[in-house]
Symmetry: C2
Subunit: 119 residues, 2 copies
Amino acid sequence: MANVYDEAYALETAIRNSNDYKELQELYAQLQADETGKKLFDNFRQVQMSLQQKQMQGEEISQEEIEQAQKQAQLVQQHDVISKVMESEQRLSQTLTDVNKIIMKPLEQLYEGFDNENE
Amino acid sequence: MANVYDEAYALETAIRNSNDYKELQELYAQLQADETGKKLFDNFRQVQMSLQQKQMQGEEISQEEIEQAQKQAQLVQQHDVISKVMESEQRLSQTLTDVNKIIMKPLEQLYEGFDNENE
Ligand SMILES: [Ca+2]
Ligand SMILES: [Ca+2]
């Protein structure tokens, strides 16, 4: 019987060897070499995170902040490498979300079965 | 090269076949057959969840609620099957936390490497 940890490491290796992962690695390297692009991207990330944090903490976000964020989003989308980075990140993130659903299924089913029989 | 989804399903199977998973399945079946124990456990779960929710929403938790929850926790710990269920759940949950760390490592390292080179 395959050990859970062995299988987890096998999955980790499969992720590292996946085309999506290698592509993102390559795109990051390209962006790293592009000083202006990297700054643009870092700035975009920071603004996104600060807005998310404000939202989570229930702080108000001004109309000006929203407009600035939108302008910045348009700007990064026009940047060839950055737009590719963002698409690639989204694909990898979707795969990892799927993977998480797959491996949480056994526990989920156990809880469901346990709960429902008593209702 | 092994496909990410194939490896995820192999990991899922390993989880289902693990001793910890089978043990928890068996313990749930035992608790299901014990009407009083099952009610005690369901009640305990509900109180825990409601307290967690209050905490997350920043609502105040009264001294009385805390004392009730503590009494209930003592009660379930004295129940043989329930205390085993709780230990078993904790073991499985620790394994899944470890697994999650293992499979998130590649992405984490990618981000770290990307970030640090520019600092
Ligand atoms: Ca239920
Ligand atoms: Ca950094």
